[in-house]
Amino acid sequence: MENTMTRIAPRAAKVLGGLALALMAGIAAAADDMPATAAAPAAPTTQAGILAAKLAPDRAHTMVNKWCSACHGYNGISVAPTFPVLAGQNAEYIVQELTYFHNLTQDDRAVTHESPWEQWIINITGLRRDYRYEDAPRNEPRAWDFMKGVARDLDAPTMQALADYFAKQPPIAGRPAATGDAAKGKALYLEGDSDRGLIACQSCHGPDGKGQGPIPRLAGQHADYVSLQLKYIQSGIRNVEQMQALITNLNETDFANLAAYVQSLN
């Protein structure tokens, strides 16, 4: 176990740092030398890994209350359709998306070209070069505005704990959408359209829209969010290969109809 001083000294130093710019620059760096853990799905074997897994639920709960809830709501029910409803979402899907965002920030860091001077500074100080927004691959722009920063510093146990938290929240009730014809959406969702070569959405997302495993739950999701995602996936802005091929022949009216239908599901 670490002694009291190693825990308190960096924290006290950080507090002082807030009052003096120079101090802050120095000591925040010293206390910030914990490396980012790449999201690895394997079960923890090291002592630190086991401890991280044990602490993850508490860390995740604090994070939900403070940070996630700012957009997704305390119970995973977001107010603005900019942000998806997470209540009752499949845990495996949430972990998959968080891992995807996390890996994008990591991959991008790996290909960033640092100047020799920057490399020298990193070597002598051990400073972690954080992800910069200018390096962003512009996929999923809305999510990218927000989620890259959240996922950047998450480790695998915390992702799992966050996903578990949202998965067990009571799902949102279905409600009618302002635009789109839910009846037409229902027909398309349940039966597809053989004339246009469209297979039924329910074959993957389930007849009740609950999805399974890595396939997301759609029932009750904000219609605006769903139709925007369909648009992004179709155009390749959001990279979901399995789906992109299947929805090539859908048009914007179909998007609105489908979105209206899934929002109406409980």
């Binding site: 009052l19 120079a22 120095g26 603005a80 954080d130 927004y133 505005d145 950047r152």
Partner: protein
């Protein structure tokens, strides 16, 4: 951690910080909060500094989201070109000097250093230090080198309100800052009111302004500010209710005077026989504590969010800041209501509207005794409203209307050249139209036109010297770059 290690880290980090700033290309260094949270600017800002719903959460949670950064710094540059009306161009000041020193020419208005962000899970800092010009100009009256700008420290804890969730949906916070209303998260508050650029061309503007905004809505609202230190507490309950009480006072060289560094707070030792300050009522004259209160209700639905609220301050200021005699003080009581509405869908449009109305009553007994006012009781009403639209977050337009009216006083609002009042009336009104172009998220171009319909009680010959309100009109082009 040993002391040696701390010292080594400190030395290395200072060197690294200097090198990092000096060597990084602009595209590799970004503002403090964006780097801390990993978000794009758009996550928190409609157009900086106007906050989105998420930006308000970030601020009310004490700037603590994300991970603390090794180099918590950012720099902003603000430059403008101004084309001013006839009055300011041609009318000489009392001593014959040209009033406007930066008229019809390009000038670097301000550069700012931002620092801070998350320090611990519960403690965060918003720090800004600014200089009025470049190179550092310490000689002229306008610029005193580097000085503390909006600066704030917050300590926050989370609690459950139990309204419809058992989660910790409420924030209780303590704050320490140097400018009344800078802690506000809505842009109807004077500190963050439109225009969002410190325009400083020789626009004289209305002769009167309310105490809480101390210097009129031109620029960041508190041109005479950052001379006070405020400590307060706030509650943000269930993302709906906001309540705050903050007490402001003059630092007088106390431990928190770093918050007012460079802003002309006077030495605590009284000067022998010192007379009243030429600036009429600078806020560093506050006698005792000035309570500031604020309440608001906010509601989000769909892509919309709306806020209605009230606020007020009561302050007594010394007539003579050197003698600091509590029997000779002016008192100011401001209260107001405000509101804001935002539609933040960005497919491709964003709209926002904000406005406020402030009423002020003041008692100026020492001014009457010294022949600087004819009566002691005065009042002011200040109203402003603005509407903003952004297309695709790149093209923006804002239209704003301002008016101020109040009791007349031929001594308080004197005939003067330029910018005085012939009738002793403070009544003024003007419009402002601004067009914005934001090609990349850390650079904003603005074209701003101010049109006066009435100034200091009149439209034509308002100062008794042949100047007209229209002569105050002003066209400004500005660039804001933050990195």
């Amino acid at each position: 951690m040993t002391l040696t290690r701390v010292a080594r880290w400190l030395a290395l980090s200072l060197a690294a910080g200097a090198a990092w700033i000096g060597l990084s290309a602009p595209a590799q260094a970004i503002p403090v909060f964006a780097r801390q949270t990993g978000h794009n600017c758009q996550a928190c800002h409609i157009s900086y500094p106007e906050l989105t719903a998420y930006g308000r959460e970030f601020k009310l949670n004490g700037y603590t989201f994300g991970e603390a950064q090794p180099v918590p710094l950012a720099v902003a540059l603000m430059a403008e070109y101004a084309k001013v009306g006839d009055n300011v161009n041609h009318a000489p000041s009392a001593n014959g000097a040209k009033v406007c020193t930066t008229c019809n020419e390009f000038s670097l208005d301000q550069w700012s250093l931002f620092y801070g962000g998350r320090i611990t899970e519960n403690l965060g800092v918003f720090g800004q230090a600014s200089s009025g010009g470049f190179p550092l100009d310490s000689g002229s009256a306008c610029c005193n080198g580097f000085a503390a700008d909006n600066t704030e420290v917050r300590y926050v804890r989370r609690y459950s309100s139990g309204i419809d969730t058992n989660e910790q949906d409420s924030v209780i916070g303590l704050l320490l800052n140097n400018n009344a209303t800078m802690q506000d998260v809505w842009h109807s508050a004077p500190a963050w009111r439109f225009p969002w650029f410190p325009y400083n061309a020789g626009n004289l503007g209305p002769i009167a302004s309310t105490f809480i905004e101390s210097g009129g809505p031109n620029g960041f609202g508190d041109m005479a500010g950052h001379r006070v230190v405020g400590a307060g507490a706030y509650a943000w309950v269930h993302k709906n209710w906001y309540a705050e009480l903050t007490l402001y006072r003059a630092p007088w060289g106390g431990p928190f005077s770093f918050l007012t560094y460079g802003n002309g707070v006077r030495d605590p030792a009284p000067a022998p026989g010192g007379g009243p300050s030429s600036a009429s009522y600078p806020s560093d004259n506050i006698d005792g504590w000035a309570p500031y209160y604020r309440g608001a209700y906010s509601k989000d639905w769909g892509y919309y969010s709306a806020e209605v609220g009230f606020s007020g301050i009561h302050a007594r200021t010394f007539f003579d800041p050197y003698l600091r005699d509590s029997r000779q003080t002016q008192s100011f009581t401001d209260y107001g209501i405000d509101g804001q509405f935002q539609f933040n869908k960005n497919e491709p449009w964003i709209y926002s509207i904000a406005g406020s109305w402030i009423h002020e009553t003041n008692k100026l007994n020492p001014l009457v005794a010294n022949n600087m006012a004819t009566t002691s009781d005065h009042s002011l009403n200040e109203f402003n409203i603005k509407g903003t639209a952004y297309y695709d977050r790149v093209y923006g337009a804002t239209l704003a209307y301002y008016s101020i009216s109040g009791t007349s006083d031929p001594l308080l609002y004197q005939q003067g050249n330029p910018g005085g009042s012939a009738t002793g009336s403070p009544n003024s009104s003007y419009w402002m139209l601004e067009l914005n172009y934001v090609p990349i998220q850390d650079m904003r171009f603005s074209l701003n036109y101010q049109a006066f319909t009435k100034i200091n009680g009149g439209n034509t010959n308002f100062d008794g010297l042949g100047n007209n309100a229209v002569g105050q009109n002003l066209l400004q082009f500005a660039i804001w770059w933050i990195y």
